[in-house]
Symmetry: C3
Subunit: 181 residues, 3 copies
């Protein structure tokens, strides 16, 4: 069982994802965020504080298929948050941050796709229910900088790929989950 929860920033995606797993007494929370600065650390802490205390957290920013495996406990649900951060991680791990204007986004997207394809295969083979949280980033004005434009293209295509593979898809708006698949 693979579920995708999408929505804008601060739309209540996390809470909705948690509510989908409320009947599970054990949840493995996979956090994909890497801490780059104080603002990020604060956001992560804020999220951590709002999670149920009995959850266990795995911090894993890449190679998710190593942790979502056929050997997982089917009684322990998995919540992975979030896909958009995972995409960012891959871009910055492979591209040189000092030469963003020379990044080859086609090559980077192939790396992202390899990770996402492996993740989808892992979710399908894993006996645990898996909820993936992602972000809607394409409903604003075309961004002025090239990285942001390419990022939203890649993130958008990744969301399509995941939604196609998922059993259920939810769009969260103002905290309300709208089931769209």
């Amino acid at each position: 069982m693979m579920m995708l929860v999408t929505g804008g920033a601060r739309s209540g995606k996390s809470r909705h994802a948690e509510s989908l797993l409320s009947q599970y007494s054990r949840v493995c929370y996979i956090a994909t965020s890497q801490v780059f600065d104080a603002e990020m650390a604060e956001r992560i802490q804020h999220h951590r504080d709002s999670r149920p205390a009995h959850w266990r957290t795995e911090e894993r920013w890449q190679h998710l298929a190593d942790i979502i495996t056929p050997h997982n406990d089917p009684c322990e649900a998995i919540l992975l948050e979030c896909i958009t951060t995972l995409v960012t991680n891959i871009l910055f791990a492979s591209g040189n941050p000092d030469e963003i204007e020379r990044w080859d986004f086609d090559a980077l997207e192939r790396e992202v796709n390899a990770e996402i394809d492996a993740l989808i295969a892992a979710c399908r083979a894993c006996p645990s229910p898996v909820v993936l949280v992602t972000n809607e980033v394409g409903m604003g004005i075309v961004p002025e900088n090239r990285l942001a434009r390419h990022f939203r293209d890649i993130a958008g295509r990744v969301n399509q790929k995941l939604a196609q593979a998922a059993d259920d898809v939810w769009l969260v708006v103002s905290g309300i989950g709208v089931k769209i698949k």
Copy 2:
């Protein structure tokens, strides 16, 4: 009866909100906008021109609970537009505009929440039907400036709070109201 209408810029939120009150012969329109410049004045005038002539307008940019009271006329519906502007008003009333980079957004959000909590309590105690209009601002790329990032976080959480309290919630897309609660 508390209703929330959300949607992007120029999505037709106002018109949809008005349509929800079409059976009321008397409507009190609460405008939260403050005029800071000519562009804003033009936008306000544009909105004003498109409202039915028989509505009365109250301009109130803060302390909404003073105007939405248990003593209101149950036959006069209330339309408040818009929450996002109200949030902006509070931020700029409490924070020094010349020192935005040093704003304490946690403290500011507490002030916003105090206003929103009072507003929700007022809507619940008020015998008139109240329609609140707000904006979706979190479905684009992460903004580059800190104020915008914090603003969309606060606005997003406010929308969640209001949607949870509301009896009905509508997402407006291209002028079409989609009832999501």
Copy 3:
């Protein structure tokens, strides 16, 4: 039969629009994009490569009513992509690109509306089914530059106009078409 497909960037709008016409053996694809730079050329090529080979393409960046006529073949469906580009085309054809800060957006919007009104009338008079693809651009933070602000206002109002005239409207999120009208 006039259908509108809206959604964010890379939300899968094109694919959904194509799926709506899957039963038609002949499709006229009207591409409104003009090539201004290499990035744009690459995006157009990417779209072109993903279209069925048996479709015929018309490149037409304005005056769409010349090509969508009462004399069209009712067995050949029309897919027009996209409205947002059409709006951009009109703005830049009428406004001087070197003096954007002095553009009269009210006058420009009148020109946009004339084109859109003619397009709607043409769709209604045309015996072929017509699918129009547009973009949601108003769900992010208020853009900092004036052109972007006015553009999203105009694009938003155009979307409302088209959705009101359309028989069916779809919002595409992560590749999933949600029928909203």
